[in-house]
Symmetry: D2
Subunit: 347 residues, 4 copies
Amino acid sequence: MHQPHFGSDNASGMAPEIIEALARSSAGGVDSYGGDELTHDLDERFGEIFETDVCVVPVGTGTIANALSLAFLTPPWGAVFCYEEAHIVVDEANAPEFFTGGAKLIGLEADHGRLCPHVLRRAAASMDAHDVHHPRPSVLSITQASECGTLYSPDDVRALGDTARDLGLAVHMDGARFANAVAALECPPADMSWRAGVDVLSFGATKNGCMAAEAIVVFGDRRKDVPILRRHHKRAGQLFSKMRFLSAQLDAYLDSGNWLAWARNANAQAIRLADGLQEIEGVRLLHPVDVNEIFLEMPLAVFERLKTTGFGFYPIQPTGKETGAVRLVTSFNTSPDDIDRMVAAVT
Amino acid sequence: MHQPHFGSDNASGMAPEIIEALARSSAGGVDSYGGDELTHDLDERFGEIFETDVCVVPVGTGTIANALSLAFLTPPWGAVFCYEEAHIVVDEANAPEFFTGGAKLIGLEADHGRLCPHVLRRAAASMDAHDVHHPRPSVLSITQASECGTLYSPDDVRALGDTARDLGLAVHMDGARFANAVAALECPPADMSWRAGVDVLSFGATKNGCMAAEAIVVFGDRRKDVPILRRHHKRAGQLFSKMRFLSAQLDAYLDSGNWLAWARNANAQAIRLADGLQEIEGVRLLHPVDVNEIFLEMPLAVFERLKTTGFGFYPIQPTGKETGAVRLVTSFNTSPDDIDRMVAAVT
Amino acid sequence: MHQPHFGSDNASGMAPEIIEALARSSAGGVDSYGGDELTHDLDERFGEIFETDVCVVPVGTGTIANALSLAFLTPPWGAVFCYEEAHIVVDEANAPEFFTGGAKLIGLEADHGRLCPHVLRRAAASMDAHDVHHPRPSVLSITQASECGTLYSPDDVRALGDTARDLGLAVHMDGARFANAVAALECPPADMSWRAGVDVLSFGATKNGCMAAEAIVVFGDRRKDVPILRRHHKRAGQLFSKMRFLSAQLDAYLDSGNWLAWARNANAQAIRLADGLQEIEGVRLLHPVDVNEIFLEMPLAVFERLKTTGFGFYPIQPTGKETGAVRLVTSFNTSPDDIDRMVAAVT
Amino acid sequence: MHQPHFGSDNASGMAPEIIEALARSSAGGVDSYGGDELTHDLDERFGEIFETDVCVVPVGTGTIANALSLAFLTPPWGAVFCYEEAHIVVDEANAPEFFTGGAKLIGLEADHGRLCPHVLRRAAASMDAHDVHHPRPSVLSITQASECGTLYSPDDVRALGDTARDLGLAVHMDGARFANAVAALECPPADMSWRAGVDVLSFGATKNGCMAAEAIVVFGDRRKDVPILRRHHKRAGQLFSKMRFLSAQLDAYLDSGNWLAWARNANAQAIRLADGLQEIEGVRLLHPVDVNEIFLEMPLAVFERLKTTGFGFYPIQPTGKETGAVRLVTSFNTSPDDIDRMVAAVT
């Protein structure tokens, strides 16, 4: 029996439907480098989900999805506004700076990972968009679900989108856990993206049951510039020769509502886990649990028990010396039994 | 029944052994970003094949394998010597220039795609390595099997490696079809790589039965700088979160001699195809057929018949207006029957 | 009669000694690209000033001096810690990101522009230098005199230098107004630079009486890597063909203590100006006046009078709506009469 | 008495008119970073010379003039066609690759440094502009006067310009010795530039009597994108704080036909030198002498005498072991006496 692993949703494998899709799509010879039918159909497939015409560019990792999205939206002398602890700032080894040719990421304060229009407006106001000395305000990048496991409501996103438009900024959404957000908010994907002002979405699938597949989804007027994005894409080494296998994953992911069903499970298990652990004396949540990530602080004794379980978890910086702190993440295939074993082990 | 597709070995799918390896490795939770056992064991796995200690960094495409290998070996002001029609020159959308920070690729003439020491020496001599105005001669990049489907013998590689060392150049080998080369030459992989002076190898697996897996293999003293390569790797968006799936492919690829068995089939079918097509009046080979690529020129009537087959092929520039020219590539799962159907269809 | 211009020390022309040096050095044919004697002697010239062996690389602007210094000290995946309003962050159009190949500038809070070791330590602690996901903590960049016109004491610099060394960071000093700092502190240049832990100094001369000449000064062990800096330098288009003219400026600048005499005048006039303006009801300093920059807030009526003078000044963001705010900068050739005219005009 | 120096026109100093202009423009305080009147007037000044509206961006070196011009004209995935021995290929330390973000320079064969439309057309035809795998054909860069000291006639330029337009390429001219070309051809500058299809010109002044001043001159429709060029310019560290001094040089250079008078002298002395040296047994020209550069091959005995003169010269690769070869360059202030001393010394 496998040990539960709450270190990341990336610790999980593939959903059986994805394996089957890979096997199925392997048959026969097809044109390489995206000349296959599955890849050709992606625009339409995603268009149905988003209720509008979109352009879809599949890539292999979330880091590159973000980096190429930003490279598409900002000039090298641009400024990208984002949460100061955003994944693009702290966890991508300067890939955004590299692929944009040197754009500057401006980290902003945010409440539980959620930016607010006021802080954005103030930051952008400190730069003159027409002064060649200054970085040129170019992009707002928000993460949905956020790095703290919280959610923007569609209204929150729209308020940020409106502010961005007003400031002349393009809007990028890092949707590494987009499915978890849609599943939790129970809103149409469109409401959380293009209808709220998002120009380009890093649509994640890997964390939620795929093997290695993310999609850069381009909305609205930006679609006419997608040939430029395709140059970035090829030059980044992301035009996979057997592209059918990325497309097969994305296709199966969206099929029959798989993506939302898997995300719903992850979200539900996170609540179950948070509920269970909060029963323990001294354990407290650092952020609300809106999707499938739980940030917890706990007495050292509990922390020590956690370490002895052998279950995967991700330690984070505690606020004091008397406590331990962790991030726990559930995934598409986390079972209630996994949760119960975890809760029992540390209680 | 699927149509044979000779457009590229990338037109083929995965070998069943690879699909099984993916399914098998999907079970259970493991540390992400390469913290899993399969990834951990890669160095040892490749070390056995190459009969020496190596460092292995898995990536998703051949373009990025080459680009990161070069970025690892040349400073931004460096010059990389290679065949003027090398893949890195004509087919990678300036990825080498981008990832190296602006190194210059110096295309050299080569006989059927095989560089010779004399031409290399002359080109390097035109630059002064100590003059800041000049590009600094830094890397020799050779392709084995070559872009013309020909092979360097181990002695050829060693002669180039010795010349490179003498000129102060590192040696990179683009081994997108390394397996086909080893299978054809029936020599130890070591003889064609580090023993012959190769510092870094782009070891291809995708074209020969994998889904999307290539390995950057670092030999000898360069291994001590691999932490720098790992930064390039992460920054390029190539540190896959579910890295186990790249490693599982590479592991199964090397298992039980699969890689060589598959390459042997591709090579054998190429000979069968070349033999069959050469029976046709006016058809002639443009290059020797050393591995699994065939470059042919043919009368226009034959070319027209080829087009009506619906079988995949890759048209190339003919030498005159009275002929057509194509590249045909066989793969790990090309069958004798595929060949015979092709030959019959165009005869 | 020329109008006083307090918009910047860059608003001033050249000192007569610099013009004479240019004219004098123009005679005769000399080797280009730095092969001349004046350039050759720079290391020794600066070595005397700094009481140690140094390597000097002359460039044309302060922006490039900073950008190349940082490119020399950080890998592309590095993090550079600096004041959040540092010139390299807000006024150089992402040149640091560009020339470093994508390093990340981490803006820190600072009291009147002066960083403190505690804030630096906390920021660096949030990144793991060995984790490939994170930007790698690489450089501390401080500005002396600071962007607020204040000074670090030699002890302040040393405390920062010690902290940086402890954290594995190289230390860069942006000395666009280094002369003003030395003149004000009356300390040996060595005490404010290499003895305090500075590895590379952007030594400014343009603002203080030169035409266009800055020097990148490399101290200590870093000197052995200067050949790499020289490649950056050439590649950046900074190896001037008639390099003698940059060197002639730097030579005359250091000659007979010119640089300090000119800086002393600028500093003295700044105090005179600050004193005079503070006599006016409601005018207040935003920062201490340590060198030649004055940051002032004033009643709107005074601000309006200032605008009618026609004298150059640099408006900045006032703290409220009832006031105006400006930066005023004195220079090597500001006269007491200039000051008196200014004070009289706005009083 | 100074020794004649024929190593480069960069070996010469400044013309007295340039020194005077620098001194004159130094008076008074003016807005920095190009806010001064001299800089403001440059567009008009150059517009008169070129008989059309132009945008002028002054820079400090020829390398950066070329690099920024190319960065302005090609995307990072572009291909730039040029002579295989062009300055941008062999003498600029990969600056073009760096500033363009990785564009590829495609070196073409050329007769005495002059490209021909046929070779250009063939090279461009080998790439498919719409195929993301290929470098995208983007720019033709020609050097006038050429790297071999030869000239394109206005008709030659127009033929290349027409071909480039037909191929969808922008046209850049490296005019490091543009004045020498105009002086020799006695044609309107317009005929050799925008009327012949040139989009952007690196207009050199440094070699021909200035201190450090080159101008990027943008013609026609490209002018509307100049705000982008200005971002490149600032980010490259080329927006000099005391920009008036670059502008003053360019202003004085164009004043009263100085630039052409100086170039005419250099050209005339080159002819005198070539004539004198060819009188010597065994000395022969490697290229026609169209402007102020002479490429000579000579018996070893003559070469040895040349070395003993102490006069500056630039050795180049001889064609055989029995000869020496040199480049000699005359400049704006080379005197007939310098020539005669040289000829006498080696005869």
